[in-house]
Subunit: 221 residues, 2 copies
DNA sequence: GACATTAGTAACAACCTGTTACTAATTGTG
DNA sequence: CACAATTAGTAACAGGTTGTTACTAATGTC
């Protein structure tokens, strides 16, 4: 059995879908599979750095490289893993929304409506989603959930998604410009009805006061 | 060789010493040891939760339970570990200062003057210390570096230690009371010269706005 | 008793945030 | 074409928060 008693690398890949976060799962057709879906994973390879394995697994599952990927901790504690791994190193990743369907045998599930999972995968997903919210103020998670250019309304929607509350437009934009995180392009996007919105790109230009690295926590009521 | 090719649990235990942070190391007298000191560590045991192993290793090395202990990630990537572990799960811990000497064969080193270490332990220490500074605004790290009661000047000194910059007394105290994190005892401590200081205890009473769990980042210029 | 030293607080100005209310540019509808 | 509906973007004000200075309080030292 692959991975038995060894270590595994398991990926929690997130994307925005509508007003919710979605997580990528892979169909598990293994003979002894007790759940239909599992996180993308692979046995750890001693000759390959953990981050590299994670990048590879994420890319294979999602069909494209994750825009951001970072370790989310080690999980063991005798809870069942789909491949029987003794210990699993979880990675948390993020990728922009795509309209085309995911690769065969994979599916995006809303974060608040997950399928039945092996106990360890359930624990990993919960921990990873909690970390996503905690880490968004020190890593450009919100920007990596969007494509190269985006409207400020798009960006605000992502922040609202991650924070779980509504923000006020004026103060959101004010603190955004104060943080020197985005710069305008000269393109505009018309979303059907209403005034077209200017497109921006992520372009951090300044260490907010220089105190302990860049920050991404944007206020806004 | 113990731990060979398996997983290990490695502890980075910190304590305040003067105006600096110190990290605990254990003398490594192993036959094949290439460095004199190493982090407290133990092979991982599949039958024991990771957190429990970590608690045990930290307690044995320091002579008392860590006041706070939390996982800091998994490290592998072919860098040499003192016990030859394929993968190491690092834990970051914190304990109040003690005047009595540490257990035999252990020693506190200033964080900015570490001994020569096995490559993986060097990487783990650097990552753990960075995390200590990042996590202090979501975990009561500063309070766990102090004993059950402390003066506000003590607390301010710990925050300054962690942040690496001086804070202003008035605004530090103002934001501290606004956060409802401490409550006064009716004891006072005289530190030699100067007015005696009131002792406080850590007593979080309120979720700062209720937004995403308690916070511990105190401002103060 | 004067002085040095540390603890603790009051008060003010400058800045920042939350909010409201406005203007601007587009699509859809009669 | 006029006008409502809708979304984008900005101005401006009130109230709160922060950084800073300056003060008072309590102790040990000379």
């Amino acid at each position: 059995m692959r991975g038995a008693s060894g270590n595994s690398i398991d990926i929690v890949l997130c994307t925005p879908r509508g007003r919710k976060l979605a997580v990528l799962f892979v169909r598990d057709d293994g003979k002894h599979a007790r759940e239909k879906w599992c996180l993308p994973w692979s046995p750890a390879n001693e000759d390959e750095p953990l981050d590299l394995t994670a990048t590879r697994v994420a890319q294979r599952a999602a069909g494209s490289r994750a825009a951001w990927l970072s370790q989310a901790g080690a999980f063991a504690d005798a809870k069942r893993h789909p491949g029987g791994a003794a210990l699993s190193v979880a990675y948390l990743g993020v990728t922009p929304h795509r309209d085309d369907p995911p690769p065969p045998r994979t599916k995006w599930f809303d974060a608040d409506d997950l399928p039945s999972l092996a106990p360890r995968h359930r624990i990993i997903v919960d921990a990873a989603l909690a970390q996503l919210r905690e880490r968004m103020d020190r890593a450009p998670v919100a920007f990596r959930l969007l494509g190269a250019t985006f409207t400020l309304s798009d960006l605000q929607a992502v922040y609202e998604l991650l924070l779980g509350r509504r923000l006020h437009k004026a103060s959101f934009r004010r603190s955004l410009t104060a943080a020197f995180l985005v710069e305008p392009t000269d393109e505009w996007r018309s979303e059907g009805r209403g005034r077209p919105a200017q497109l921006f790109r992520y372009a951090p230009r300044k260490r907010r006061g220089g105190r302990g690295g860049p920050r991404f926590d944007v206020l806004g009521a």
